[in-house]
Amino acid sequence: MSTSQEKPVESGVNYLNATYGIRSWLLTLDHKRIGLLYLGSITLMFFVGGMAAVLMRLHLTEPQGALFEPETYNKLFSTHGIIMVFFFLVPSIPATLGNFLIPLMIGARDVAFPKLNLMSWYIFITGAALALYATLSGGVDTGWTFYPPYSSLYSHTQVVAVALGVFVAGFSSILTGLNFIVTIHKMRAPGMTWFRLPLFIWAMYATSLIFVLGTPVIAITLFLLGMERILHVGIFDPSVGGDPLLFQHLFWFYSHPAVYIMILPGMGVVSELITAFSRKKIFGYAFVAFSSLSIAVISFVVWGHHMFVTGQSIYAGLVFSVLSFLVAIPSAVKVFNWTATLYKGSISYEAPMLYALGFIGLFTIGGLTGLFLAALATDVHLNGTYFIVAHFHYVMVGGAVMAYMGGLHFWWPKITGRLYPDLWARIAAAIIFIGFNLTFFPQFVLGYLGMPRRYAIYPAEFQVLNVMSSAGASILGIGYIIPLVYFIWSMRYGPPAGKNPWGAKGLEWTTQSPPLTQNFEEIPIVTEDAYNYASEAAHV
């Protein structure tokens, strides 16, 4: 790569210290600073949602419920779901790492539309503020799925305010997706062809497609729900000819692809980490790249598998079942290619790599347990039970959050220019891995035994497994607090990271840490494929 020769003296100016003051942050057009604005906001949302989860697990240590009235418990799980899905997982990797890295990785000075990018953040925090306001002023008890007619006619909680918050935040997703698509199409550095792009970019591209195609539908769905709730016009009310199942169709048309909004960026991050820490070209580049796109496409035609027990026709059930099996295949291809990338690599085990390996393992379990739910006969038994809860937490937390943590650890030196204590990071990774499995593995058994989800109280025979799960949750909670501490510590006291602490490939590692406001001294010219670890033996 053209800019790989070291400058003897670095100027000391970078995007973090180029300008000062709160205004310079709140009015910034720099994609890196906007990424950090998102990082701050979603970290806050993560701990709010996490607090709800901890309270839920504490409550469930006793069959009759240890802490709350059912009404409060219902509000807790709804808050947990809504905050975590719409205000943490969906924006997590795209809005933070994606914003920070896409221009750096493709050799651009910024995203295509910086003002739009800043506007997206303001839209996001407006939505988040609405959701938080609704939570504090009475909460919402519909679950994150907002199924009518409960949400439209029966619930006495702040449904409209929360739905409005999600609606508003949706536009942030749409504009971010639009920005990324245009950036990836039009802003690549000379020589950066499509098949030289890092796989993280492919994943972000696939994610952006879903943002742009799926989010408008959830927006219109929530609009209809809000109108129905305010005006009682009967769109989802069967007593006047409406159809409550229409809501479910529209909802899952977005919300199933949204699952891939959460996991695809994680897959992109893991592709980067695996190659960097085994210093090897990714195995089957084209297969990994195209599997991202095929996942994005297929994800739009599998929504009906959320509705196998609603009484949809048997033929619809069969079609959605076979399509849901189909979506497993590109995911399997990815797992095999990552594993094969390790073969004959030069593998080291810094914290990001531990997260990446943890991701592969947990995602494998999460993906395979998805087969139980694509299969009609077993889905009938498992739908609506804790099996579902366990399955999607293996994908969302074991998958997406592990990858997010891995990515944050990997690019932290680039973002802040500082190193964090690796030993602590490894300890935290191990604690998270153990706590996670202890929390969610028992839930598979609970689900098979028949314990329905969203139960504030439950029959006594389920207690042991619930206590195990709650114990795991407390370990998991500690695991998430440790990184918060050392990341903050490292911003001030961490040793300087240098340009490329991992000896990794990719344009982002060729510029200084933290990068300049305009990213590169001059726009690089790309002359080689991604992950070309064969070209140089020596690193840094």
Partner: protein, 330 residues
Amino acid sequence: MMGFLQSGFDSLAAMAAMMPLQPPAASTIANSVDQLYLMLSGITIFFSVLIFSIIFYFMLKYRRKSPNESGTQTHTPMSLELTWTIIPSLICVGLFVWSSSLYVRNGRPPASSTEIFVIGKQWMWHLQHPEGPREINELHVPVGVPVKLTMTSQDVIHDFYIPAFRVKKDVLPGRYSSIWFQPTETGTFHLFCAQYCGTNHSEMIGWVYVMSPTDYAVWLAGGEKTESMAAQGERLYSQFGCGNCHSPEAGSHAPSLAGIYGKPQKMQSGETRIVDEALIRQAIYFPNSVHLPNYQSIMPTYQGQIDEEQMLQLIAYVKSLGSEERMNGK
């Protein structure tokens, strides 16, 4: 200290004894679902162990030995990519065929099923047997007899779930859904609502009592004497004056209901619909939307006057008309 540990250990052991790993399998389909479940678990364990062990092996074998070392670059053989695309595809196809055929087979109730009616409302289950007895949050059924449940909801979406029978179906307002099962052993089993339905969702639970046929007969005969559902329906039929138009003597205002159930009926639009629970319900609540040729749309709606429970009784009556007609005509 030791005593404390000991008692803790004892209580743990007692709890473990209380903790089953498999739900009871008490219906004719339960074992077939469990077999598929075991197969899926086997596949999950096999591939997870495979991936984990390969990762561990590579981690040890190819760990970085010196800081400047690079990986040995390998070529991507097409054959390998195809192998691990095709093998999972075949497994998926196999699983799809297995699970779908099971689902289709399990979905069809035998013709000989007894029918029990279920109404879900926040936050309880109302059930009524055709012989008349009503139950709340309890369901008594005889062992070895196929039972079909016809279900509807009075308010929000509920879901009728009996884990031991491996059956579950959403219970929706404004339409009828049905499931069936044939219990294979006597006992008491959980009944859950599996679709979140509001504040006391977790209290919308109950028990299914599977009894020997003799015990069931005793149970049916015991308790308060009640009329059959069809008889209750007949009383409603006269109370609301349905017969003023719908009896054969009333002239040509409205079709006679005798023998109409289960038969195809030509609509004004030209399409043909089978007269089933849904159509009867639609005709009573939304008469404007059911046009028959040769009849004017003059029937008023009974929405708000007839509730879901009475609706089911009326349906039972209309059904019984069919059989009486045949008997009388003999």
